[in-house]
């Protein structure tokens, strides 16, 4: 009798604690005193993340492994890829050293928790910017580095030539991603009755796909292209179907409420786009800085611009060194270079990710 009442008591008290926790949260956020505390913390944090990164001398960049083209660990143990390079872009801009970055591999399902807990400073992990993530994950998404869309990959001998033909198929996706929802939506939109299985890691999907447990592998087309290039049976054994059924702007994210840090990361990325527009590459950045008379380029590279009252360097007060764009381009390269280095070899076209004056949608605000 006693034991029974004890366990009932335990459940009740645990439930009570949990509910009390929820209730008190709501109560606290509505009282003026609490609001004030919140504001203070936010301002404190706003200074502190940029400051703490500078003080630590390295950027903790949340990234991943095993995604060819975007982020893989090579034999020397270095992270190589498009996302990895954008981590370096941020380090080059903030600290002046592209190698002052600590790459932290994250599982898909853990990435926002890592961001929220402050285990990482910035998340550059082919993450789609969505309203829900912006609103309820405490993430602040910045300039997308890659405009992607979800597609479907099948084995070439499966006979599928269009998504609409895949009635009743088993579709394998990564767990905790927008991919799951998009696939479910597409399935019900086309009335295809898909069975959608979600896996922790790309390696597990690969195993299931190789064993014939999945008919289709759905993910962002860029990812599929990378995975196809590294398929054990050769890339010709796989076909990526032509349809793309979602918008996937892959963007870096920082924690909400830290404007200074957000600006710094945002402009580091925008600098790569602007540099390409100016035609500045890592190879010619020095000679351009020394020879050009273009005021826009000189401002951008943080060089002295001759003015009416003597030469001056433009400082837009972004809390970044004035020569951050020079460091980014010199040490990592412009957007086109980064793309050509990692994604072109996979067979990805620039497409939407061309500059705005070249048929794409990459457009950096003016640096002045």
């Amino acid at each position: 009798m006693k034991r029974k009442s004890l366990s009932v008591l335990a459940v009740a008290s645990a439930a009570g604690l949990f509910l009390a926790g929820c209730a008190s949260t709501e109560a606290e956020t509505t009282t003026p005193a609490a609001t004030q505390t919140t504001t203070t913390t936010t301002t404190e944090a706003a200074g502190s993340l940029l400051d703490s990164v500078t003080a630590a001398g390295s950027v903790r960049c949340g990234t991943r492994d095993a995604l060819p083209g975007f982020a893989v660990t090579n034999d020397a143990g270095e992270h190589v890829g498009f996302d990895s390079d954008f981590c370096r872009v941020i380090a080059a801009a903030v600290l002046g050293d592209a190698n002052a970055v600590e790459m932290i591999d994250l599982e898909t399902a853990d990435r926002f928790t890592a961001l929220q807990s402050g285990a990482i400073d910035v998340l550059v992990r082919n993450t789609t910017w969505t309203a829900t993530r912006d609103g309820s994950e405490g993430a602040n998404f910045l300039q997308p580095t890659f405009y992607d869309g979800q597609g479907m990959m099948v084995t070439s001998d499966s006979g599928y030539n269009a998504i609409a033909a895949m009635d009743g198929a088993i579709i394998c996706v990564a767990k905790g991603t927008t991919t799951e929802g998009n696939a479910a939506l597409e399935s019900s939109r086309l009335g295809l009755d898909w069975e959608i299985r979600s896996f922790d890691e790309t390696d597990l999907i690969l195993e299931a796909f190789l064993a014939g447990q999945c008919d289709g592998w759905s993910s962002d087309v860029s990812q599929l292209t990378g995975l196809r290039s590294a398929y054990p049976n050769g890339s010709d054994a796989l076909t990526i179907l032509p349809e793309v059924f979602s918008k996937e702007p892959l963007a870096p994210a920082v924690l909400d409420g830290d404007t200074a840090w957000a600006q710094a990361v945002n402009w580091a990325i925008l600098a790569t786009i602007q540099a390409e527009e100016f035609g500045i590459t890592s190879a010619n950045v020095d000679s351009i800085r020394d020879t050009t008379e273009d005021v826009g380029i000189l401002r951008f590279l943080g060089a002295e611009v001759p003015g009416s009252d003597g030469a001056a360097v433009l400082d837009p007060n972004l809390s970044l060194p004035t020569d951050f764009a020079y460091q980014v381009v010199k040490q990592v390269g412009n957007y086109g270079e980064i793309f050509a280095r990692h994604l072109t070899p996979l067979g990805l076209d620039r497409g939407l990710n061309s500059l705005w004056n070249d048929g794409g949608i990459l457009y950096a605000p003016p640096y002045r």
Binding site: A34, T37, G135, G168, L185, S198, E207
Partner: protein, 387 residues
């Protein structure tokens, strides 16, 4: 009677063992509270900084994902997905506990067999399985056995043309009709069979003749199920390969199979040891008495030894059942859509982590406590009434 010895000097309160004990307890309690207060304060601060939800409102958001083998729509709320995950956890728990108990008991008995072969096989099984990490066993079962050793759907194995076995799942013949119909049919048959068995037992007790009352009950049950099924015109359907999947029957998810198989194999190795120990703990005289009244080997085991052994085994078995239920959360690593997997997916899709996982923790806690209550109930019912 010397007065010097009988009047001890009064111990000061700070050296009084009772005060010290109380003080230590209160200090420990305060330390624990302080720790939680500090953690909770940090949580509040972090949450306020990044505008993360802290309540259960997320349960009303659309789930945005589907669950294999379930017609949950992706526009249904997260709440419904959690309920499905909960049900899937219960499915694994029920079937896992039943099978692990049966297999464990058989192996436990086998370990005490006089037959060298049987005894050695039992020992090898127990020593092999219980010394493996469960996660490894599960990964092996999924990647090596189900994915690679089961045939692809193109050349699925069709034993007796009743089953379809492939690495996309195992399809078995199943009733046509709603689960409610099926449940009512089986329940009423079970009830009738129980009554028949009880009556037979009473008659046997009166006449003193040996009677296989429970066997009669089981036969009655099967016959009744068939009669009810014929009477109400339920059918059953056989599964068959249909393109890249199966149609008809009941399809068991491949990850369900891998999870249940691993849990049963693992837990049964522990249950076997409990059963073996409990049988050995039954007084030797009981077995000798059974021999003396000329009971056969199986009668001795069934009527004399096992009932007493299970009385001893019950609390330890309860622990194993709890372990099995909690270990079912490993299903998330092989894409079985139980509670943990649902929590992980929904957190990945924008539900706040702390409330979502707190809810999941509470559900596991509730399942475990209910299981404890049931086990304790049976334990009290079975326990020797000592006077």
């Amino acid at each position: 009677m010397s007065p010097q010895l009988s009047t001890p000097s009064k111990v000061p309160f700070f050296r009084d063992i009772r005060t010290l004990k109380w003080a230590l307890q209160i200090l420990a309690l305060l330390a624990v509270f302080a720790l939680f207060y500090w953690l909770y304060g940090n949580y509040q601060e972090n949450v306020a900084k990044s505008s993360i939800q802290t309540d259960l409102r997320f349960l009303d958001n659309p789930a945005n994902f589907t669950i294999p083998g379930n017609d949950l729509d992706q526009s249904q709320p997260v709440r419904d997905a959690f309920v499905e995950g909960f049900l899937n956890t219960l499915r694994v728990a029920f079937i896992g506990i039943a099978l692990a108990t049966i297999l464990g008991t058989l192996i436990g008995i086998a370990r005490l067999s006089k037959n060298f072969m049987v005894r050695t096989l039992g020992t090898v099984y127990v020593e092999l399985v219980r010394n493996l990490p469960l996660l490894l066993l599960l990964t092996f079962m999924n990647l090596a056995v189900v994915l690679q050793a089961f045939p692809r759907i193109e050349n699925a194995w069709l034993p007796l043309d009743l089953f379809v076995v492939s690495n996309r799942g195992i399809a078995i013949p199943w009733f046509i009709g709603s689960p409610a119909q099926l449940g009512i049919g089986i329940l009423s048959a079970a009830l009738l069979a129980f009554v028949v068995a009880k009556v037979r037992i009473r008659q046997a007790d009166k006449s003193g003749k040996q009677d296989r009352a429970w066997l009669v009950g089981i036969v009655t049950f099967v016959v009744l199920v068939i009669v009810i099924w014929l009477l109400f015109g339920y059918g059953w359907e056989l599964p068959y390969v249909d393109g890249r999947g199966t149609t008809g029957g009941l399809r068991l998810d491949p990850s369900f199979f891998a999870l249940v198989a691993s849990l049963v194999i693992y837990t049964s190795s522990h249950i076997a040891e409990i059963v073996r120990g409990s049988i050995l703990a039954v007084s030797k005289g009981q077995g000798e008495a059974a021999d003396a009244i000329a009971l056969s080997g199986s009668q001795k085991m069934r009527l004399i030894i096992l009932p007493q052994a299970f009385r001893i085994a019950m609390p330890a078995l309860g622990n194993q059942y709890l372990n099995l239920i909690k270990n079912s959360s490993l299903g998330a690593t092989i894409s079985y859509f139980e509670l943990t997997q649902i929590a992980q997916i929904t957190v990945g899709n924008g539900s706040p982590a702390v409330p979502a996982f707190s809810l999941t923790l509470l559900v596991y806690l509730a399942i475990s406590l209910v299981t404890s209550l049931v086990v304790n109930f049976f334990n009290r019912r079975l326990a020797l009434v000592e006077r």
